[in-house]
Amino acid sequence: MSDPVSEPVSPMAASHREVVIIGSGPAGLTAAIYTARADLAPLVIEGEPSSNSDQPGGQLMLTTDVENFPGFPEGIMGPQLMTDMRAQAARFGAEIVTAKVSRVDFAERPFRIWIGDPDAAEPTHTADAVIVSTGARSVMLGLEAEQRLIGYGLSTCATCDGFFFRDQEIAVVGGGDSALEEAGFLTKFASKVTLVHRRDELRASKIMQQRAMDNPKIEFAWNSTVDDVLGESKVEGLALRDTVTDETRVLPVTGVFIAIGHRPNTDLFNGLLDMDEAGYLVTGADCSTTNVEGVFACGDVQDHTYRQAITAAGSGCMAAIDAERWLESRTD
């Protein structure tokens, strides 16, 4: 599909695509499958490896069993599901690059996208349509000790690091589904897992709550916030504060896993795309459009309500169809 509207103004070193997809979780890869099958030869800029959920494949890369994605009656491992989605997108001609976008410019068309040096005069890629699916990453506690102790008992990845806490007493901070999933997984290794939660009830789903309550290795520290992570060269404990009595106490643990929630990865789009107060991209009602015509958003980067793999995949499909229709409407 050529585009007679935008004239080749100046010779650009940047490679041009009809569709560039930024991010490669369930939303981005579903958008890639659909746009590839529509012969739009999408380029997926999948991100770079990290031990947070801000990485190729997204949050599911750090999970174990996914039991609620339809089509897998026995469940499927998160990383396997993402490997399969990636292969499915590649099968239909999506090109996938392992890199991180450093800057975007949506002020004029074609849209411009930089990888590497954000100050380079020439963008790396230009695109007629952009699908943003950069997802969300785990929030940290924001304590100075975190930087010192990450990798030394403090972890953002239970599936990576649980192994190292065999027969030890550890803590998981958080009260949602991902916190309970991590706590349950960690009881395979640890002798005791204390779930530290700031309220006196969990916001996790009923089935996850029941499993945690039934697990003899899981204990609960209710109404507790983390004042500090203790230990110089490795984790020795948590300084907890009771939110009701304001009393402080030390919970001796050798490992701490943080699962207090997620923040959308939207720093790239500050001042370019409309966001809500929490930084999520704002999309149109029942569609994936953003305030910039030709830029679409899907998945957790624009969803603070459902945040499921299946809703992310569904919204990725919506973004692909919206992008395809928009591109067609321009060429007519």
């Binding site: 890369m61 990383p79 990845c157 990576c160 192994f163 190292f164």
Partner: protein, 108 residues
């Protein structure tokens, strides 16, 4: 073989690290670690591109838990660069290729 990646075990580790003429980057990893799998192809690229200035070796922490304990690995992937048989720098967590190269550069 230039650029080849060796798997180190508890019995071969000291001999291989001690006799290496160039710095050895040891990747502590496991099959069940998603981020470890993501950096594996990057390490292969580095092994090929920088062969002569660095060697890459792997320690599977499932098979060699004592090595993980000895070097106080509590999170994987952990990369430890050994120069002259001694740990020179340590990189915890998966990182992209540009960032890995940047952190390794001062030691090569």
């Amino acid at each position: 073989m230039a650029g080849a990646i060796t798997n180190l075990s508890e019995t071969t580790f000291d001999e291989e690290i001690g006799s290496a003429t160039e710095p050895v980057l040891v990747d502590f990893w496991a099959e069940w670690c998603g981020p470890c799998k993501m950096i594996a192809p990057i390490l292969e690229e580095i092994a090929t591109e920088q062969s002569g200035s660095i060697r890459i070796a792997k320690v599977n922490v499932d098979e060699a838990p004592d090595l993980a304990r000895r070097f106080e690995v509590m999170s994987i992937p952990t990369l430890i660069l050994f120069a002259d048989g001694q740990p020179a720098t340590r990189i915890v967590g998966a990182k992209g290729k540009p960032q890995l190269l940047e952190e390794l550069a001062p030691h090569l």
